[in-house]
């Protein structure tokens, strides 16, 4: 269990963050300079908040109200630093054993050997950090942090120093280690894929503030605001106007069409008509209507529109089509209105390279309305 509320002012930057988490992996996601690492340092006792309270597993790490602040060395944490911060003058084994100084000689030897074995580092035990590859260094840093059997594991951009192919491999490896370990873990990352693969819960930071805390399964489906959607790199974020809102349905006017979207039952968001709102539809959820197979009835295709492909981008396994609607007026995203993603096979079967005019539809469940931040 981890509960944290911190306020800290630095020259030109203010961190004001509060969130909670269970025995799970929490990813702090956001751009560089958003306050993620500072949060980690406050958790570790390496930085001191001006105000606030930090409680980990019923231990009060910090409480400004009572002046409590447990020093870093008594917080029992494993901290994997960005760039790893391995001790360059010590061997791999000595690095891993460094936190075990207060155990008996026998236990220290046993635990070190165990940890080296678990991370596949036994053969490298006598090497110095500078003789290791990036991936090996990452494992040593993890081993050094886990060797002390910490109450809380903190990882600061654990994979960002690595090349892309290695990063994918180590991400899977790291996930295995974290699952096995099973205690509270806080992971700082600016890589959304990393957050999604490794974490159970995502805390989104923006300029020192928390803009959303959500289980990762909810995040892409229900970003709390347009800002979150943009931070998440969601495409097709569009601006419309509310025509009608009921607890079930929100009708939006956009580019001369009236679109129907399902209102989130949990949110109960009821903006009055005329309110400008942002909404998005994921590019892979926009449907092309096949000309060879018309729908069973005219009402089958919801939110039907027509337009033509102005450009396309080969993504390898998919094609991204940039479509401009037929309606007059300024296109929503530069020279196009919608981004549509289709699998390569579909692109070829429908002969999209040749056939540029398409009718499209969007299921009302795929249109996500974003409350104003």
């Amino acid at each position: 269990m981890l509960s944290l509320s911190i306020y800290k002012e630095l020259p030109g930057f203010t961190l004001d963050a509060a969130w909670e988490a269970g025995d799970e992996v929490v990813a702090l996601f956001g751009a560089s300079g958003a306050g993620k690492t500072l949060t980690l340092q406050c958790l570790a006792g390496l930085a001191r908040p001006d105000r606030g309270r930090i409680v980990v597993n019923d231990t009060v790490f910090f409480d400004a109200a009572t002046g409590t602040s447990i020093p870093s060395r008594r917080r029992r944490l494993g901290y994997v630093f960005q760039g790893y911060a391995l001790f360059p003058h010590l061997s791999v084994a000595e690095n891993v054993a460094y936190g075990l100084h207060d155990r008996g000689r026998e236990e220290r030897r046993r635990r070190t050997a165990e940890m080296l074995d678990r991370l596949g580092l036994t053969a490298l035990a006598e090497r110095r950090p500078r003789e290791l590859s990036g991936g090996q260094q990452q494992r040593v840093a993890l081993g050094r942090a886990l060797a002390v059997d910490p109450e809380l594991l903190l990882l600061d951009e654990p994979l960002s120093a690595l090349d892309a192919p290695l990063r994918r491999q180590l991400r899977a490896e790291l996930m295995g280690v974290l699952r096995e370990w099973g205690k509270a873990t806080v992971l700082v990352t600016h890589d959304l894929a990393e957050a999604f693969q490794l974490a159970d819960r995502v805390v989104i930071y923006d300029e020192g503030r928390i803009v959303q805390v959500a289980p990762k399964s909810e995040l892409l489906l229900r970003p709390a605001s347009e800002l979150v959607a943009r931070l998440l790199g969601i495409r097709n974020i569009l601006q419309g106007t509310v025509v009608k809102a009921t607890p079930e349905i929100i009708e939006l006017s956009w580019r001369g069409y009236v679109l129907e979207a399902i209102n989130s039952p949990t949110r109960g968001y009821l903006p009055s008509p005329g309110t400008p709102v942002a909404f998005f539809i994921r590019p892979e959820y926009v449907r092309l209507i096949r000309k060879d197979r018309p729908g069973p009835d005219p009402g089958h295709h919801m939110n039907r529109m027509e337009g033509s492909v102005v450009r396309e981008v080969d993504q390898g396994t998919n094609w991204t089509l940039l479509v401009r609607l037929d309606h007059a007026g300024e296109p929503a995203q530069g020279d196009y209105d919608l981004e549509i993603e289709v699998p390569k096979l579909v692109y070829e079967m429908l002969e999209i390279a040749r056939d540029r005019r398409w009718a499209i539809s969007m299921h009302r469940g795929s249109i996500q309305v974003l409350p104003a931040a």
Binding site: A44, G45, L46, P71, S72, R73, R74, R75, R76, L77, G78, Y79, F81, G83, A85, F87, P88, H89, Y98, G99, H101, D102, R144, V148
Partner: protein, 217 residues
């Protein structure tokens, strides 16, 4: 030639260097790792002996440790005499050389990545322990270089020593003072010999320093 001044100089410099390390390392660490009001003032005060005339330093030191100075009175009450003994020469050498050690060690400590010390902190080590296991092993070259420079400077001190320890042959007369006396008495052969000893010693130390700095551990 009387070997006394050479032996005394080495004894004084050795003790002075130990004392310098004892006092200088904590100061260097605090300057490198802590921010506090008056930080810059302390830093300037540490360097001051390098730029002040030795006679000024000697004068102030004498004011403090002389028979009527605060420290002198305190020690006098305990039956310990300081001014115009070889111990005063140690203090003089210390005052003259401590800045060299502090500046070198401070630069060395500052060059150690702070995150290494932070990592050590999260791994349960105390600040004292971190200094010995991380900071010093990663900066020993700079500390060692500072120590050698401080030793050589202590060996060569003239002005401060003369002010607080005098130049009593067979008692407080160190090598540089003896050279001065020989020259005054027109005993050029002796002056020449002692000067050669001083040059050779310094050269030897500096050569050894260069050799050690290239070693990898």
């Amino acid at each position: 030639m009387d070997p006394f001044p050479v032996l005394l100089s080495f004894q004084v410099s050795l003790v002075a260097t130990l004392l310098t390390l004892l006092l200088g390392l904590p100061v260097a660490w605090v300057l490198a790792r802590r921010r506090f009001p008056g930080h810059d003032l302390v830093e300037a005060a540490v360097v001051l002996p390098l730029v002040l005339p030795p006679t000024v330093l000697g004068y102030y030191l004498l004011v403090v440790i002389g028979a009527r100075g605060p420290v002198g009175q305190l020690l006098g009450a305990l039956g310990i005499e300081l001014a115009f003994t070889w111990r005063a020469a140690v203090l003089a050498a210390c005052v003259g050389s401590v800045a060299l050690l502090v500046k070198a060690a401070q630069a060395g400590f500052e060059s150690v990545d702070r995150r290494l010390e932070q990592a050590a902190r999260t791994l349960g080590r105390s600040e004292w322990n971190i200094f010995w296991s991380i900071t010093l092993p990663l900066s020993w070259r700079a500390v060692f270089a500072g120590t050698v420079l401080a030793f050589c400077r202590a060996l060569g001190d003239f002005g401060i020593t003369l002010m607080v320890a005098g130049s009593i042959p067979g008692l407080t007369q160190t090598m540089p003072l003896a050279i001065y006396d020989y020259v005054q008495a027109n005993q050029m052969r002796e002056a020449n010999l002692l000067s050669l000893v001083a040059v050779a010693t310094a050269l030897l130390f500096l050569l050894g320093l260069g050799r050690l700095a290239r070693l990898r551990f």
